[in-house]
Symmetry: C2
Subunit: 377 residues, 2 copies
C-alpha cells in the first residue's frame, strides 16, 4: 500500500472508525484476527466451511453519479452489490475489503457538513452492521486528476461540481468474503429441466426509482443532506428506495441453502432477462416465464412500461432461483415474498431462443431477449 499523506489520513480515519465500531461490539461474530494496519488481513474460517469471494467496482459516472446519489447511498450500494453476490450463493458474510480512490475535495468538509467520504462510510458501515460483516482492510489512493472536466451537474450544485480546475472521480472496489458449508454453495450452473423458477421481493423498482431520479436528481440528495443520521434514513426508507438503498437477500439465500430448497440461484443485478439468460447459459437449459406472474414493485406498477422495467431494469438485487417442481416453498422466506414466475425447459437445438415469455394477451410464448443494464455516463 504505497500511501501519500492524504491517503494515510483517509486510511487512518477509516481504521479508527472501524476499530471504534468493533470495540462497541456492533459486529457480533468477528472472524478477523488481524484487520486494517498490516500487509494483509488474517481471517479464520469456521470448520467444515468453504470460502466465497466476490469483487465489485463502483465507479463514478459508470455505476453512480455524484449529483444523483447521496454519499450514503453510494456507500450502501457499493457494499450491497457484493453482499448480493454472497446472498445468491447462500453464503454467510465474514468480511469486506474496500479499495477507495477519491479526489481531494471529497476528503474535506464542505461548508460545515461532513465530508463526502464520511457520509460514504456512514452508508457503507450502517449496512455492514446490519449484515454482520466486518470491514477488515483495503487500499486507498488519490484519484487520478484531470483538468477541465465536468463532474456532476452544475445546476444541481452538489459535491465537487466544477467545470474548470483539476479534479477526479470517486472510484471504489469492494471485496466480500463469505463462507458456506463445503460443497453446498448455490450455483447458477445447476438448474434442471422441469425446475420451477422463482424470484424474491419485487421487480422493476430500482429502474423506476432511477427514472424518478433522472427527472429530479436533487430532491433526494437534499433530503439526505438535511438528515444527518443515514442509518435511520436507510432503515425507514429502504422499501421506498429500491435503487438508492437495495437490500441484499442474505437471509433468503441462506435459507435456500440450509433447507436444500434451491437447485440453482443468481442475483438480479443486470435485470431479470439478462440474469436468467446467464443462469440458462451456465446450466445448459432454456426457460419460459409468465408475464402475469412477475411481482411488480409499486414504483414500477404505476408506470406504463412496468413489464419492461421488471424484465430488463437492472440493480433490483433480488434473487432468481430454481427449485424442483416437487419442492413446496413458503410464500415468504425471512419476511421476503417469493413468487413462482416460470419453469426451466430442456436445451433447444440450433438457433432457437433460450428464453420464452408468455404474455397475458398472447396465446403462445414469444422469445425473450436479454436486455439489461445501462451506464450513467
Amino acid at each position: 500500500m504505497p500511501a501519500s499523506p492524504k491517503e494515510r489520513a483517509l486510511l487512518s480515519a477509516l481504521r479508527s472508525r472501524v476499530e471504534r465500531r468493533a470495540k462497541l461490539g456492533s459486529t457480533g461474530r468477528v472472524p478477523v484476527r488481524v484487520g486494517i494496519g498490516d500487509d494483509c488481513a488474517v481471517l479464520r474460517l469456521p470448520p467444515g466451511q468453504e470460502l466465497l469471494i466476490t469483487t465489485d467496482m463502483s465507479l463514478e459516472t459508470i455505476h453512480f453519479r455524484r449529483d444523483w446519489h447521496a454519499p450514503e447511498s453510494v456507500g450502501h450500494r457499493c457494499l450491497a452489490r457484493g453482499l448480493s453476490d454472497l446472498a445468491a450463493m447462500g453464503a454467510t458474510p465474514l468480511a469486506a475489503f474496500l479499495s477507495l480512490a477519491l479526489p481531494p475535495e471529497l476528503l474535506a468538509q464542505q461548508r460545515g457538513r461532513p465530508a463526502w467520504q464520511e457520509r460514504f462510510f456512514s452508508g457503507l458501515l450502517a449496512l455492514a452492521d446490519k449484515c454482520n460483516v466486518v470491514l477488515a482492510g483495503g487500499d486507498t489512493a488519490q484519484s487520478p486528476a484531470y483538468k477541465g472536466i465536468q463532474i456532476g451537474n452544475t445546476r444541481t450544485g452538489n459535491f465537487g461540481s466544477k467545470r474548470h480546475g483539476s479534479t477526479g472521480l470517486a472510484l471504489a472496489d469492494i471485496v466480500l468474503v463469505g463462507s458456506a458449508p463445503r460443497g453446498r454453495a448455490l450455483l447458477r450452473s445447476t438448474a434442471q429441466p422441469g425446475d420451477c423458477i422463482y424470484v424474491t421481493g419485487h421487480l422493476g423498482g430500482a429502474a423506476a426509482e432511477l427514472a424518478l431520479l433522472q427527472k429530479n436528481p436533487k430532491r433526494f440528495a437534499r433530503v439526505c443532506d438535511e438528515n444527518a443520521n443515514a442509518h435511520d434514513l436507510l432503515a425507514a426508507r429502504a422499501v421506498q428506495h429500491p435503487h438508492l438503498f437495495p437490500q441484499p437477500r442474505l437471509a433468503v439465500g441462506q435459507a435456500l441453502l440450509q433447507r436444500r430448497w434451491a437447485t440453482s440461484a443468481i442475483d438480479i443485478s443486470d435485470g431479470l432477462s439478462t440474469d436468467l439468460d446467464h443462469l440458462c447459459e451456465e446450466s445448459g437449459v432454456c426457460a419460459e416465464i409468465e408475464a402475469v406472474r412477475l411481482p411488480l414493485h409499486p414504483l414500477a406498477a404505476a408506470r406504463p412500461d412496468a413489464l419492461h422495467l421488471a424484465l430488463h431494469g437492472g440493480e433490483d438485487y433480488e434473487l432468481l432461483f430454481t427449485a424442483a417442481a416437487t419442492t413446496r416453498l413458503p410464500r415468504s422466506i425471512a419476511g421476503v415474498p417469493i413468487a413462482r414466475i416460470g419453469q426451466i425447459l430442456p436445451r433447444r437445438k440450433g438457433s432457437q431462443p433460450r428464453m420464452l415469455i408468455l404474455c397475458a394477451d398472447a396465446k403462445r410464448a414469444v422469445p425473450l431477449h436479454a436486455a439489461g443494464w445501462e451506464h450513467y455516463g
Copy 2:
C-alpha cells in the same frame, strides 16, 4: 457484476484465457472449486491454515503511466504488489481476483499488434504461473470517459495518447488470497527491542530505474513492443528491471515463517524509511540503521544519490524483517541475499525521533525521517 456487451467480451476473453491455462496444468495446486463465471468464486482452505487477504489498486497516472510502462509491466506490477503483501506475512498464495476498468481503445488490437489488455494479462498471468497463483475471478467495467484529456505523452506515441476526443484511464484493483499456518503469519507489530533488522535483495533499484525511465520513457516500451514473448522477457530481465518487473519475495517470507526466524516483517513498497517507520509504529519500538550496511542495487550504486534512493525510493518490494539477536541467519534465503542493516531499540520518550541512521562519515547517529513514495501524475 452488471456488464455491458464490451465488458462481457473482456470478461469472456479473460475467462477462456484463464481456463485454458488451468487445463494446461500450468498451475499445480488449485484450491479453486468454482472460478470465473458465478456470483462468487469458491475456495477451499487447507486444514490448519488461516486466510490472508490483501487488496492493491493500480491506477493509471497514480501507480503507472501508459507511455512509460509496457502493458506487460503494468500487469506484472499489479499482481506483484499483492503478492509482495502475502510474502511479507510469510503466506502461500492461493488465488487472485482482478477488478479491471479499461477505456475502449485498450480492448482492441492496435495496428495488428495485440491489444493492451492482452499484453496486460500476459504480464499478469506469467507472474501468476511463476508464483503458482490462480486468477479465480474479479469484475470488469468500462472506464469512466472524459473529453479533452491527455493520457500519456504524445511525443512518445504509445497506446491511446490523445489530446482530444473521449477516452478514459486504465484502473485495476488486485485482491490476493493466501494461507498460513494458524497463528503463525508474520506481523509488522511484533518487533522487540534488541532484535536485528534485515532486508532482502538490494535497495534503490526501482527508484533508479524509474529515473532512467523518466529520461527516456520510450526505450523500454519499444523493446517490449518488439518482443512478443513477455514471459521470456520477464525472466531474462527481472534483475535489471527492479521497477518494471519486481520479484515478490514469497519463498523468503515462507522460509522466515516456517523456520521461525523472523520476529516481524513488512514489505518495502513505500521505501525503507517509510516502511521501517510503519514497523516501529505498529510494534511500539524505535530503530537504528547503519548506512554502510544498506545493500545498494547496482542501478542505484552508480548514482550520486544512491543512499537517498536506498532509504526513500519506493517499490523495491523487498522484505524488511527483524530477528532475535541470537538467531543465526544464512547469507541468502531461496537464492536471495539477506543483509543485516541495524537493530530495534526500546521506545523513546516524548518527541524524540523514532528512527536513527549512522552514516559512514558521522560519529553518531542522526534522525531518519520517513520520506517515500511519489505519484506519476
